[in-house]
């Protein structure tokens, strides 16, 4: 975790109301991994007292650049669109824990709902660099919100679902998942809570439905403790969670989600990536 300046190199509106910005921040992304995020300070402190968390959408360690992808939802995000190339802002990062890819996984299934693409986008790059096959299932409300395939690596198999059927599958993106459940070794998702909840349900019954054999206990000890990188690596589905955030370093306890057992866990510290079986999806408190 570092506090570093970042210089805006490029900014453009890739979809209506959605922006892609490239920043040069070499100190920040040294050692950053897919799934982590940065906490960015908007310059106008008089009104905007909180930083804004953004997933690291893509990163290029050699050039020292990273991109963020966001939708304008309020005054804070609007402020970022007023920046021009050459402007400098300040970022805190990389924060949170990354996606854990099992070294043996050949086929990765990425599921993104809307802006959730920003949460899994860098994992696509990382997986392809490591020689894995990647399928990205993308869900949006309508065709105008669909992530442009030109922004994806050529190697990614890209399927789209829209709620109104204006492009791709007519329906929810979660309906595409069963076709890939057997193919995928691991799945990674980011998006609205209802989507993640359905995916978590699918992941929980996947083993039984597909008849995946459990090969018994390994020598040398039981299961890794829940929440550990080892446990996440073993889980079929990892999700990147979103929550209103304050400090982003674990101090304020603002951004919690409820785990299956124990005290609420912080999205900024224990997350944003969780194994789907770590979390309580029923929403009770």
């Amino acid at each position: 975790m570092r506090l570093a300046g970042a210089e805006l190199l490029e900014t453009r509106e890739i979809l209506p109301g959605q922006w892609l910005q490239t920043y040069r921040a070499p100190e920040l992304i040294a050692g950053a991994r897919a799934g982590q995020f940065v906490h960015v300070r908007a310059g106008d402190y008089s009104g905007l007292v909180l930083r804004r968390p953004f997933s690291i959408n893509t990163m290029d360690p050699r050039a020292g650049t990273l991109t963020i992808h966001f939708r304008v939802v309020g005054r804070g995000t609007a402020w970022f669109t007023f920046l021009r190339p050459g402007d400098r802002i300040e970022m805190l990062g990389p924060l949170g824990r990354p996606f854990e890819v099992d070294p043996r996984s050949r086929h990765l299934l990425l599921v993104a709902g809307g802006l959730g693409i920003a949460g899994v986008r860098s994992l696509a790059d990382e997986a392809i660099r490591d020689g894995r096959q990647v399928t990205l299932l993308f869900g949006a409300a309508t065709a105008r919100d669909v992530y442009p395939s030109s922004l994806l690596p050529d190697e990614v198999e890209y399927l789209v679902a829209t709620d109104d059927g204006s492009v791709g599958h007519h329906g929810f993106v979660t309906e595409l998942v069963p076709d890939y459940e057997a193919w995928a070794d691991q799945a990674f998702a980011c998006g609205p809570l209802p989507m993640l909840r359905v995916l978590a349900g699918q992941a929980a019954t996947r083993g039984r439905r597909l008849g995946v054999a459990s090969l018994g206990r390994k020598r040398g000890g039981g299961r890794p403790p829940p929440g550990s990188p080892q446990a996440r690596r073993k889980a079929f589905l990892q999700v990147s969670m979103e929550q209103n955030m304050g400090c982003a370093v674990g101090a304020c306890l603002g951004c919690v989600v409820k785990p299956v057992s124990g005290a609420p866990v912080r999205v900024c510290r224990e997350g944003p990536v969780f194994a789907s079986d770590e979390l309580d999806w029923q929403g009770g408190w």
Partner: protein, 390 residues
């Protein structure tokens, strides 16, 4: 109940001469004169007042041990019972976790003190999310005192704190007086715990939150009970969610508190963008940030004229000017809270800025900036000719 000599930090060099460099309260010295009612038999009010009233010339204080730009000016401040801070910039409870979260980003050892997250007797899971949201010039939070309980806090963090130069003040919350007393008992004598900040004003929990802060009698009762249970330096955090804070502050002082913190957050609500429900999971949240600074200044201004014990001002501090404002209305120290989220390095920078300001004005100590905006001691009315007193 003789105050024990207390070793605030184990890592710090021995400082026998400055164990109690008393706060020179220039203007607030009028405060005891304005008190109409005497101490109501509370614990130790006289002793605690003596520490603040007896003024030692700031020039007698030797410069602090380390080298560096801020060391030329004496920024130390005495909050009573031997809790002497090297500088008057603290970080507020709930915004700095247990002091370890910001890691290398902040040099925590430079801070005046750290007020840790509110700690209760039993673990608490806190309120349903969303727990925070930004509001114009501020933020609402409704964490609901999530914490692992006092025993876990002591076990996990106290050893770390004991090795620090910066004193850690544990913020204590409870649902009943017995809760508060028990938590404080368990903190008594723990190395690394430099003091207690009594949180009687959390607006985000059902039971025991505000009930102690809105009633002078209850506030006095809980303070007195805790005072009997511990010799640790005791700060009590006031709530602004009251009609008149002065009787409450007076009751707390009379019950033996060493210092007051003012203010906690203001109760507020945000509405979800869909407009079909309040935004926060707990409906109500506590408002903090620059938006509440005028209210905080007003409360400190009122309390400074009511009590003789030191006041730690808090509410919307984002720059040196804010610190100076709080000092001017009678605070001897300040806490920085919400602004840390945007700028984690702000508290440390404020220390340097304050030292620089003192140097620029040719002051030995920031203490001569305290209380300068309070009503002057001279009978102001006669000066204006409203009445004539020979």
């Amino acid at each position: 109940m003789k105050p024990k000599r207390r070793v605030v930090t184990s890592g710090a060099p021995a400082q026998p001469a400055r164990r109690r460099p008393t706060v020179r309260r220039i203007k607030p010295a009028i405060a005891p004169l304005q008190r109409r009612d005497g101490p109501t038999g509370g614990q130790l009010p006289a002793a605690s007042r003596a520490t603040t009233a007896g003024a030692a010339p700031a020039s007698e204080l030797p410069p602090a041990s380390e080298s560096g730009p801020i060391r030329e000016t004496d920024l130390s401040v005495d909050l009573g019972r031997g809790l002497v801070l090297r500088n008057p910039v603290l970080v507020a409870s709930g915004t700095f976790g247990y002091g370890i979260e910001y890691g290398d980003v902040v040099d925590v050892q430079r801070l005046g003190a750290i007020c840790c997250k509110g700690t209760t007797l039993k673990p608490r899971i806190g309120n349903q999310p969303p727990r925070v949201t930004e509001t114009p010039g501020g933020m609402l939070n409704s964490i609901g005192l999530q914490n692992p309980g006092v025993d876990a806090v002591v076990e996990k963090y106290a050893a770390t704190w004991a090795g620090w130069e910066v004193p850690v003040i544990v913020n204590v919350a409870g649902e009943s007086i017995a809760d508060y007393v028990e938590v404080v008992r368990r903190l008594e004598g723990v190395p690394g715990v430099a003091g207690i900040e009594l949180n009687i004003s959390c607006p985000n929990v059902g039971k025991g939150g505000l009930q102690f802060a809105i009633d002078a009698e209850a506030a006095g009762a809980v303070t007195a009970a805790v005072r009997r249970a511990t010799d640790l330096p005791l700060l009590v955090k006031l709530s602004p969610n009251v009609a008149d804070v002065r009787p409450i502050a007076r009751a707390i002082e009379d019950a033996g508190a060493d210092a007051l913190t003012a203010i906690n957050t203001l109760s507020g609500i945000a509405v979800a963008p869909t407009r079909d429900r309040p935004l926060l999971g707990n409906v109500f949240g506590g408002l903090s940030g620059p938006a509440i600074k005028p209210i905080a200044l007003r409360v400190v201004y009122e309390v400074a004229q009511t009590v003789g014990i030191p006041i730690v001002g808090i509410g919307g501090i984002t720059e040196l000017a804010d610190v100076l404002d709080f000092l001017a209305v009678g605070a001897v120290a300040v806490q920085v809270g919400t602004a840390i989220f945007a700028d984690p390095t702000l508290p440390v920078r404020l220390i340097d800025d304050l030292a620089g300001e003192c140097r620029r004005r040719g002051l030995d100590s920031h203490r001569s900036l305290v209380g300068t905006a309070l009503p002057k001691r001279a009978t102001a009315s006669s000066a204006r000719g409203v009445e004539y007193r020979p």
